[in-house]
Amino acid sequence: MSLWDDAHYEMRDPWQLRLRRSFDPLVLDDGTVDRVLDGLDHADVPPAYADVARSLAAATGPSYPDELASETVVVAAFAARDAQSLELPRPHRRLSRMCRLSTPKLATAAVAGGLALSGGLAAAATGSLPGAAQSIASEVLSRVGIQVPSPNTHSGNHPDTRGSSDTRGSSSTGASNVPAGPGPGVQGSPISHSAQTTPATGVDKGATICSAASGGQCQAGQHEAGAGTGAGAPVATPNHGGTGTANTASGGASRPGTTTGNAASGGASSAGSGNATPQGGSTTANSASGGASSAGSGNVIAHPGFSAANSASGGANNSGPANAAHGGH
């Protein structure tokens, strides 16, 4: 019988245990072993194990300051690690492995990339973005070490607050970008309906809608010769971001009274141009389409919840030539 078997046997057989204990006071059964190890008081254990219980109690006693000396370092390591893991949705595992970037880095890179592609980075650097967009750009770019001005000192009349397109698209946006025109929020549905039902096509359709939207101030369709593109000709410059909105207008999905309508009532093309001018590519889009607003460059960086996006997308939506251009595609 091996030592292992012997020990196992003496713990499992009560009769053997009693017999052995009569000769050997150190014999223990399973239950007593567990109780001693679980902290049974020395007064309650077999006498031969009283010192063992005292020693184990001392080994499990209260902590000493030197044992906790590394707390500061460990907690600092925890804090440093935690600062790099914001509570953001995790990217796809494969993407994460490929990029070897953390979620916040990816999010920051995406926003910075969007700004760069749209020319918005330069605009942000000069503080010429609308207030809300400038605020976001400043906040995000600061995480990657790029300092840009805060919104309130350079945003002028641009909106400084963030909001949804449904609730903020009517007032400040139209007022800041559109010099004249019917009151906001009252012509969205008629204009959208007109865009869907008018028999005109191409530049004529754009001019019709633009004129209706701007109360006759729109001159869309009068510069097609200078722009070098004929009526209904495809516009070479892509309409970044504004395409969806423009399609909404021309495709019949426009929602009455929303950003589309508000911006339409606010003066259409000029509003879009005002927003688009600082952005790369928008001037080309305007001239090619007869002064209309593909103007969507602001949309590239603008979040759907920002007022800045409202004005930009509104300008794109109402521009008659833009509609005509898209109709020609």
Binding site: H8, D38, V52, A59, S70, V74
Partner: protein
């Protein structure tokens, strides 16, 4: 042990609460240090720090109760200790000679160094446990000081529960014999 407060403390720590993480640290660190002092010969503080760094890295992915958390932390500590032993085995000039083969295998602390430390009850107790055969000493520390169950200790040390029970039994018996023979501080 944190008991009922453990679940909420863990969740707060996983969400980045430094105070909650400090609570977890203070609750486990003494037992961790004492366990490492018994099974490791050197660099106890470094081993503990490396263990906690691994805990920091893996905390977000951890899920389980307090016993599972303690098992996880001590498993990490044991692996760090084994890593140190392996690295030392690749650098034999740093390994001092040791008469006791088992003690050398597990890297138990030198009794001479221990005798020079404070002679309070804790030190005496750890010294006596460290004199046990390494496998017995480790099981006794994990069961009594770390507060793990037989099954959890079996998972940590990679043995069957029956073997853990036997080691614990023999460890206690030998400890009783040692204490009866040498009730005072270890004389070297």
């Amino acid at each position: 042990m944190l008991g009922l407060a453990f679940a909420s403390t863990l969740e707060r720590a996983k969400s980045g609460d430094e105070a909650a993480f400090a609570l977890l640290f203070r609750d486990l660190q003494p037992a961790l240090i004492r366990y490492l002092r018994v099974i490791s010969r050197t660099a106890v503080e470094d081993l503990a720090a490396e263990t906690w760094l691994d805990v920091v890295k893996g905390l977000a992915r951890f899920s389980g109760d307090e016993a599972g958390f303690r098992s996880w932390v001590f498993t990490i500590a044991r692996r760090r200790h084994i890593d140190v032993l392996r690295s030392m085995s690749r650098r034999p000039e740093e390994v001092s000679t040791e008469d006791d083969a088992e003690r050398s295998e597990f890297g138990l602390q030198d009794p001479v160094a221990l005798a020079a430390e404070d002679k309070n009850e804790l030190e005496t107790a750890l010294r006596m446990i460290a004199r046990l055969p390494p496998a017995q000493a480790e099981v006794v520390m994990l069961r009594a000081v770390a507060g793990l169950s037989v099954a959890e200790v079996a998972d940590v040390v990679g043995r069957r529960p029956g073997a853990v029970r036997i080691l614990a039994h023999r460890g206690l018996r030998r400890l009783a014999e040692e204490l009866a023979a040498k009730p005072g501080p270890v004389e070297v």
